[in-house]
Symmetry: C2
Subunit: 527 residues, 2 copies
């Protein structure tokens, strides 16, 4: 049952005076439930509890953390239709999507549970002593990853489950041993509270310290700002706009103790279509991309907002087909009137730039909060000269750039800001000729896709969901996959430490039977 | 032969109008050689060359990078006495130290050469496709670490070789595939130029692209500021003061494209001595610590500047012994008059604080630029209330804090800023009673040492030389050991990429025979 209150640790709390409601974009009405924004006192209490909880939580076993994470997954599933209905009522997204995203969220939690139960993730590294080394004895040094401390997670508007309350950032932080304080996304505060209740229930059932998790409601920026500035907070995870992520990064950098911010932000996900491919498969590609651009009403961070090709009749034909195909797709609802407003504003800005040709613009009437898809095209020169055209238009929008030649294509790619993904559409026979283009693209993105679409982010150890700024604030980390735990952990060394005082991961007996780097070689051996 | 010029890529260059000299603190005179500070044009040219070089350097094989790194080591050794003499003349450090540091530098270069020749460091991770998975086929995704781009390295005053021109930051960055631009430390510009000449020679001999390395002279902050703000620079490595490191961190954070700064900065390296240990071994400990505090004239970042004990007759006796022992050590020369000046100023500031007792102060006359060692002591309460006493006094200085009890000891540790190291001096029988103290200490440091001294940083895979801010600007990385390469690399994914276009590390055949994570398990198998 949704109460509209915050979770300050395991306690429901609503001491603040500010309230707000969520919005159903399908019915175009506010939802009934009133949410209480966290007060400054509640924020401070949540951080104080998290700091206290950290003292215990950071050294509990991987097995117990796994039980906690699996219990969260179980409790989320137990929320059943209430969760799915709330999700749909706060996002306009269909039930199938809600269930798919719930599946992904549960899968992520269980994947991290497996990771910490197994224990290899701490990268245990042991160099044993050489007491008779000259001129100096070699000490015994042993290293492992340990958690940073309380982490603040900002939920994403477009993924109320997988990138929000119990999403990837939270799952990874809890797995690392960091307490989490979620700044709940105001657009889906109900979904957030339900998931928070599942986490709190799981924490209680598995005996986690009070404060290991808190969920704070907020309608504006104040709660987030207060959290990021709080000395008790040691790291920040964010998924959202460049403006939002950068603001948090700047706040964190200005602290007396700067802290890491991993923000996964905007991206236009360039797609490079090579000549032979467009010649052979232009028609099919247009269909595929019309689908990818409008998938989830274009509200994916990996949405293909930029298509780069080399001028040819086939590219012209592809562009026209893309326009035709996209107009055949029924418009769908966006997450919130504010998202629609931003889409319309950004689209208008893009369309009003000089020398932009509109290929397709869904002009028929649509229901409130539905997005009209648009395809535009420009010459390479125009794109190069106008940075406004490089900006993301969050929604079902894409721009086809007609480059003069491969050199201009490469120049354009080199001038792009950092991106989550880059896609190469090519025949195998021609890809080799474009090595410079591919190298340039690699240097601007976190993931390269061959003959596919960028939408769809597989949750697996080899996935990188991140990339050079502004795709993320730190390209050395990923937001998806088990490696994302490294955002919230730091290496730590023990020198000549007595075996019985060492953590299990580093003890001579290797009681957890984990794989360690022992004197330079991977091994499960005892010492 | 030292020319006083900058290396802009492989070319010697001296277009600027600003010049400076280095200083011999032993003879208390300027050295003769005049150095030309890099001009803005030279800075921009170095970055442009580095960016060009990156396009080639980032994809050369590990084997070729290894040859380059080993050639640097060879060329440094070939500099022979000229290097050692220049080093001594610019630092006042003895020949033995110069040779030891050269050995360490060469060892680091060869260690990174081995690392990249072997190739496992890229953390290759492969998840193969499951085309018939429902509801969606699983793509083939493969990940490896790739270099960030040109890195600027700021040399350290106190380690002209191991943490400067071809030191750990440079070796790690080159190993990762990042071109390096060194902002040479003005106090040892000659040593820097010699080492730079070795790197350039090695680059030419092994066919590295021009611009893979540049060495820029500077006497003030301008060159460094210009470099860190330059859009072509993608990361920064720094070893030095908190003020300097923080200024660079702030500059990097304010860029349009923020970039990672790994700065290893100040630390007072708390040493906790437990009661039984001081009772049993107080006298010997005093001798050991008098040596550690004055080692290298106290000019180590791991110098023990803070000793924490619980009030007792034995602690009083230890403190007196420490004072007595340290006065028996002959004062030694510091690196530079500016370092002496800072030491004297910081020492005076510490000594002038209320309720600080001077235990030992070397009052006899000393030669110019020699440092007079000092031991002070305060009550726990005084230390808790006065943050000035928490500040580093870079030099042969230490403060013994007499805590009321274990609770106050823990409170003091919890209130410390981040540190590179923490040391526990204990009998095995008593350590277990102080688990809370140990946990608190672990939370503030990057490395814990048992019954040893913090000075001496073993170069090995399990070493962490870093720690919570301000010990470093990002506790998730280390400055020493092969893992330090991770500061300069980012994960990158290929999705459904054709085998013949993949880098060797990810090809089906595993031609480099590296260990990879294949569908979740470590393996050298082919696919």
């Amino acid at each position: 049952m949704i109460t509209g209150k915050n979770y300050i640790g395991n306690q429901l709390s609503a001491n603040g005076s500010k309230t707000f409601k969520t919005f159903n974009p399908v019915s175009n009405t506010e939802n009934e439930q009133v949410y209480s924004e966290a007060s400054v006192e509640e924020i401070h209490e949540a951080v104080a509890l998290a700091s206290q909880a950290f003292a215990e939580f950071r050294s509990i076993s991987g097995e117990r953390k796994a039980a906690f994470l699996n219990a969260i997954a179980d409790e989320i599933l137990a929320l059943d239709t209430e969760l799915i209905q709330t999700y749909c009522s706060e996002t306009g997204l269909p039930e199938g999507r809600a269930m798919g995203e719930r599946g992904r969220t549960v899968f992520q939690l269980r994947t991290f549970a497996d990771l910490v139960a197994e224990g290899d993730w701490v990268e245990a590294t042991i160099d044993t002593a050489i007491p008779d080394r000259t001129p100096m004895p070699k000490p015994d040094v042993r290293k492992l990853l340990i958690p940073l401390g309380p982490v603040v997670v900002f939920g994403a508007s477009n993924f109320p489950l997988a990138y929000s309350t119990a999403g990837g950032d939270t799952a990874a932080a809890l797995a690392a041993g960091c307490p989490v304080i979620v700044k709940s996304h105001p657009m889906h505060a109900g979904t957030g509270e339900l998931v928070a209740s599942a986490i709190v229930k799981a924490a209680e059932k598995t005996g986690m310290p009070n404060g290991v998790f808190s969920n704070l409601n907020s309608s504006g920026i104040e709660v987030g700002v207060e959290l990021v500035k709080h000395p008790g907070v040691k790291a920040v995870g964010f998924t959202g706009s460049i403006r939002g992520g950068r603001a948090l990064l700047d706040l964190a950098a200005q602290r007396e103790e700067p802290i890491p911010v991993f923000a996964e932000m905007g991206s236009i996900n360039p797609v490079v279509i090579l000549p032979e491919a467009i010649q052979n498969r232009g028609e099919a590609l247009a269909k595929t991309y019309a689908g990818s651009i409008t998938l989830g009403t274009g509200q994916f961070c990996t949405n293909p907002g930029l298509i780069l090709g080399i001028k040819s009749d086939e590219l012209t034909e592809f562009t026209q087909n893309l326009g035709k195909d996209i107009l055949e797709i029924q418009p769908s609802v966006m997450l919130h009137p504010n998202i629609v407003g931003a889409y319309e504003a950004n689209k208008s800005k893009a369309l009003s730039q000089s020398d932009v040709t509109i290929v397709a613009d869904y002009e028929s009437d649509v229901q409130s909060n539905y997005a009209r898809q648009v395809i535009t095209t420009v010459e390479g020169k125009t794109f190069l000269e106008n940075p406004t055209l490089h900006q993301e238009v969050f929604g079902p929008f894409s721009l086809v750039v007609q480059c003069e030649d491969a050199t201009q294509l490469e120049t354009i790619i080199k001038g792009l800001e950092g991106q989550l993904t880059g896609t190469l559409i090519a025949e195998n026979s021609e890809a080799n000729e474009y090595q410079d283009v591919i190298a340039a693209l690699q240097n601007r993105v976190g993931r390269l896709i061959y003959n596919g679409v960028p939408t769809g982010v597989e949750v697996c150890p080899s996935m990188v969901h991140g990339g050079p700024y502004p795709a993320s604030t730190d390209s050395r980390f990923t937001a998806v996959g088990v490696s994302s735990i490294k955002r919230w952990a730091r290496p730590f060394s023990y020198q000549d430490w007595p075996n019985d005082l060492l953590p299990s991961e580093l003890k001579n007996e290797n009681p957890l039977n984990i794989t360690r780097t022992l004197n330079g070689a991977l091994s499960k051996e005892t010492i």
